[in-house]
Symmetry: C2
Subunit: 499 residues, 2 copies
C-alpha cells in the first residue's frame, strides 16, 4: 500500500487528524485500486478548516485585490507547466482520454478560466457600483465575508474540480476563502492541483487559509459542515440526491446553496429537419450523447421525434450507430452501478431498450451505449421518471404523434440546463419552432438551435444554469465570468461622504 | 356586521369559495372591531389562483412590455388621485398618522416606486444583456415564468403592501404574475388598493390573472402554497418565525424564498461623538426608535455606548426623554402582545428596563417607549437573545468598558439591515471607526455614519437587504429599482444567429 496523503489545513500540508479511515482511487479501465491512500476527514478536521477560513475571510477583505490577480496568474501558469503530468494522472483515475479531451480541451479551458478571473479583477466592474449623487448614496458588491465550500463533480477533473474549476474560481475571485473537497474518484489529480494551488496562494501572499483542501468525509460530517452557519455558501455539482440532502442542511441556517443537480437537456428534432438531414443529425446526436462516455451534465437525454417516414429513417440510422458502437469506460464503479440501475428505472417507467452496443472492447467499469424509445403518450404519463438522470451513454427518443404532442412534451420538460431544437434550412419547421421556443426557453438556461447541447463555451455571455431542478436558482450561472462570481457576493451601500 | 369582502381571482372580484371563516380588522386606537368582514381563503381557492397565475405567466411572456409600463403609470396615478381616502382608511386600521406619515411620506414613496418601475421598463437595460460576438452568444434576464407570492408586513400599508409595495412592483416589473396577500391588520386599505390595481391592470391590457389578491389563509394553507412547485418565488416581509416556516416549505421544492426577517440595526455611539454632541444624539436616537411607534424594520435596537462621563450624560438625557414621553398606539393587538412578551425576554436575557414613558395618553393597543440597558459582558454572553426583535418603541443600550469591547460587540452583531456609527466632527473617533467599519460592513447591508438607520431612500443605489438572518440572501435588495427586480429574473442564453 502507498502512503496516506496529507490534507491542506490553513496553509499546512499535514496528516489528517482523527481520520475516519482511508480510501483508494481505482483505475476504471482495469478496476484495480491505485496505490495512494487518502484520508476520510473527521468533522473535527473540517471544523478546524472552517475556523481558519472564517479568519481568512476577514484577512482577505483587507488584502489588496492585486494578490488575487497574481494568484490566478501563477496558478494558471503552474497548471499549464505541469499539464502533461496532470493529464496522465487524471487519465489513470478517470479513463478520460489524455488527448484531445484532457490535454487539448479541458486543461486549456481550466487555465483560461483562471486567467479570465485575473482579467476580471484588474478593474472594479465586477463590483457593480451604482452611484446616486442626488441621494448621496453608493452601492456595490463585496465578498460574502465567509468561506465557500466547493464540492466538484466526478466528470471534469480540471474544469469543475473543487480546487481548480469554475466554482472555485468564482468563489475566490469574489474574495471568499474556499474549502475545496476533492472528488474521491480523482483524488490523486486533485491533490496535485491542490499542491500547485497552495504554493501559488502562498507566493501571491493570500492568507494561509484562503484555500484549504480535503478528500472525503462521512455523509454526516458533510451535512454538518454544509449546515454550519459560519459558512457563507456551498457550491455543489453532482447527483440530485446528494445535492438535495446538502441543500436541506444548508437552507435552514441561511447558508447559500448553489447546486447543479442534473438535467435532461431535451433535443427536439423537427420533421423537416429530419427529412432534410436525418442521417447527419443521427450522427451528431450519437456523438453528443456518448462523448465522455455520456458523463456530461449537458448530455441530450430526451429526444422528441415525429413518427413519420423521415423520423423512422432517422431512428434506423441512430439504432445502427448505437448497435455498431463499442463499450466505453465510465468514471468508476459507483457510476457504472448507478447507470445500470437508472437504465432499469427508465424501462420500468415505460421505455424500451431498442438498441445497445454489441462490442465490448474494455474491461473495468464499462457501459455500452444504449438507446431507449417511448411514445409521447407514455412520456406524458411519466415525465418525471423519464427525465430522471441516467449518467452514462444513453438517450431516450420520444416518438410523438403530431405537432400538438411536440408542444405537450415541451410543456412537461423539467427545468434543464439546455434545450435544443433542430429545424430545417428550408424553413419548413419555422412555425413549429416559433411555437416551441417560448415554451422551452422558460424551462432552460441555454437554448440552442441546430447545435447539440454538449460543449460549453467559456464566455461572459454563457449561461450554465437553469430552472429548478437543474439548478437551485435560475438567476445564476456556474460558468462565465464575471457573472458566475455573483453567487458569492453581498450587496452593500453607504453614504460616500461618510465612509 | 358589514358585508364579507370579495377576493380577486383571475380578474374577477367574487365571494371567496369554501372560505374557512371570516375576520375583521380593528381600530388600534380603540381596540374596537371595524365593520367589514374578510374571508379566510381555503387552499382550494389559493390553488385556483395558482393555476390561473401559471397561465398568466405564459401570457405575460407574450405581452408587450409597454403594457406593464402603462399599468404602473395608471396605478401610480390612481393611488395619487385617491390618496386622501386611502390614507384615511389606512389611518383607521393602523393608527399611523395621516400627515405627515401616510399622505406626505409613504404614499408619495409608493407612487414614486410605481413610476420608477415604468421608467425602468422603458428601455432594456434591466435585462442585463451580454453579447459575445466571438462566441456568437447572447445572454439576458427573463421573467421567472412563474407566479410570485407577495406577503407584505403590517407596518407599511402602502410602500410594502403585497398589492402595491416594493416586492409587488419588483415581481411584476420583472414580468411575473403576482398573487398578493393583504396584511390582515390593514385588510381594508389593501382591498381598496387591489380594486385600483385590478382596474389599472385590466385597462393596461395585462392578462386577467397577472394580479390576484386575497386577505388571509390558515397557516397550513399558506405553507402548502409556499411549497407548491408551480410557484416561482415567495417575497415575504415580517416576523422571523413566520418567515422561516414559509422558507422551510419553499426551499425543498426549489421555490425561491426572499425574506426580510427583522434586524437589530446597531448604532455604535463613539466616545468623542458623545462628548461633542451627546444631547443631540440622544434626541436623534429617541426619535429614531420611536418613529412609527418603533415599528420600522430599520429601528435601532442595539446601541453600544462607552461607560465614560460623556456616555453617562448621554444616557441621562436619553432616560429623561423616554420617561417624559407618552404612550403610542401599535398596529394591533397581536403586535402589542408580542412586543410585551419580547420586552420580557430581553429582561430575561440580562438587560434592565431603565426608563419607560410614564404618560399614557391613549386607549387601544398601546405601548410605552422603553429603554433597556445592559453591559458589554452581558451582551457578549447572550448576543442572540439580546438582538432578537422586539417590534415596538424600544432600544437597548449596551454599556461597553473600552474600545476593545466595542470591537467584540461588533463581532457578534447578527446579520442586519443597517449598521451605524456616530463619530465626532473633531476626528477624535477616527481610529475606532476605522477599526469597526470593516467588522460592521460585513454584518450589514447598509452602513451609515452620523445618520440614524430609520429612513429608507428609494434610490437605485439603495440596499434594503443584508446578511442572514436579516434577509435570506445578502446579494439582493428589496428596495431600489432595477436591482430589486433581480430576485425575480432568470438568466437565459442563446446563439443569436439561431433564435
Amino acid at each position: 500500500m502507498g502512503t496516506v496523503q496529507p490534507v491542506l489545513v490553513s496553509g499546512v500540508w499535514r496528516q489528517a487528524r482523527n481520520a475516519e479511515g482511508t480510501f483508494t482511487a481505482s483505475n476504471p479501465r482495469t478496476g484495480a485500486a491505485l496505490d495512494d491512500q487518502y484520508p476520510v476527514s473527521s468533522f473535527d478536521e473540517l471544523n478546524e478548516m472552517l475556523d481558519a477560513a472564517v479568519g481568512a475571510a476577514e484577512q482577505l477583505d483587507g488584502t489588496p485585490v492585486e494578490r488575487r490577480v497574481r494568484f490566478f496568474e501563477l496558478y494558471a501558469a503552474a497548471i499549464e507547466r505541469d499539464r502533461e503530468a496532470l493529464a496522465e494522472v487524471a487519465h489513470v483515475e478517470t479513463a478520460l482520454p489524455v488527448s484531445p479531451r484532457l490535454l487539448d480541451v479541458e486543461i486549456p479551458r481550466t487555465v483560461r478560466q483562471l486567467r479570465m478571473a485575473a482579467d476580471v479583477l484588474r478593474n472594479d466592474d465586477w463590483r457593480g457600483r451604482v452611484v446616486d449623487p442626488a441621494a448621496n448614496m453608493v452601492s456595490e458588491f463585496h465578498p460574502l465575508g465567509a468561506p465557500v465550500l466547493v464540492i466538484g463533480p466526478n466528470n471534469f477533473p480540471f474544469a469543475f474540480n473543487g480546487i481548480s474549476g469554475g466554482d472555485f474560481v468564482a468563489a475566490l475571485a469574489a474574495g471568499n476563502p474556499v474549502i475545496a473537497k476533492a472528488h474521491p474518484l480523482h483524488a490523486g489529480v486533485s491533490r496535485m492541483l491542490a499542491v500547485l494551488c497552495a504554493a501559488c496562494a502562498s507566493e501571491a501572499g493570500l492568507p494561509a487559509a484562503a484555500v484549504q483542501f480535503f478528500y472525503r468525509c462521512s455523509p454526516g460530517s458533510g451535512l454538518r459542515l454544509a449546515g454550519d452557519q459560519r459558512l457563507g455558501a456551498v457550491a455543489f455539482t453532482g447527483s440530485r440526491d446528494a445535492g438535495l440532502r446538502l441543500k436541506a442542511a444548508a437552507d435552514p441556517v441561511g447558508v447559500l446553496f448553489y447546486g447543479e443537480l442534473s438535467a435532461a437537456n431535451p433535443v427536439f428534432l423537427l420533421p423537416a429537419a429530419l427529412a432534410e438531414n436525418g442521417d447527419a443529425i443521427a450522427r451528431d446526436l450519437f456523438a453528443s450523447f456518448t462523448v465522455g462516455c455520456g458523463q456530461f451534465c449537458t448530455r441530450p437525454a430526451v429526444v422528441p421525434v415525429l413518427t413519420d417516414p423521415a423520423g423512422e429513417r432517422f431512428l434506423e440510422t441512430l439504432r445502427s450507430l448505437v448497435t455498431a458502437a463499442s463499450s466505453q469506460v465510465l468514471l468508476g464503479r459507483s457510476v457504472r452501478d448507478r447507470f445500470r440501475a437508472a437504465c432499469g428505472e427508465i424501462v420500468q417507467a415505460g421505455a424500451s431498450r431498442t438498441a445497445e452496443a454489441k462490442v465490448t472492447l474494455h474491461e473495468g467499469f464499462t457501459a455500452e451505449p444504449v438507446l431507449f424509445e417511448t411514445t409521447g403518450t407514455t412520456f406524458l404519463a411519466a415525465p418525471g421518471a423519464l427525465q430522471h438522470e441516467a449518467f452514462g451513454p444513453m438517450t431516450l427518443v420520444v416518438r410523438v404523434a403530431d405537432e400538438e404532442e411536440f408542444a405537450r412534451v415541451a410543456r412537461v420538460v423539467e427545468g434543464t440546463l439546455v434545450a435544443t431544437v433542430y429545424q430545417a434550412a428550408s424553413g419548413g419547421d419555422a412555425a413549429l419552432l416559433a411555437r416551441l421556443r417560448p415554451l422551452l426557453l422558460r424551462r432552460c438556461g441555454r437554448f440552442t438551435v441546430n447545435k447539440m447541447p454538449t460543449g460549453v463555451t467559456v464566455s461572459p455571455a454563457m449561461n450554465h444554469g437553469g430552472p429548478w431542478p437543474a439548478t437551485t436558482h435560475p438567476g445564476f450561472t456556474a460558468v462565465g465570468l464575471p457573472r458566475s462570481m455573483q453567487r458569492f457576493l453581498a450587496l452593500k451601500c453607504w453614504d460616500p461622504a461618510q465612509a
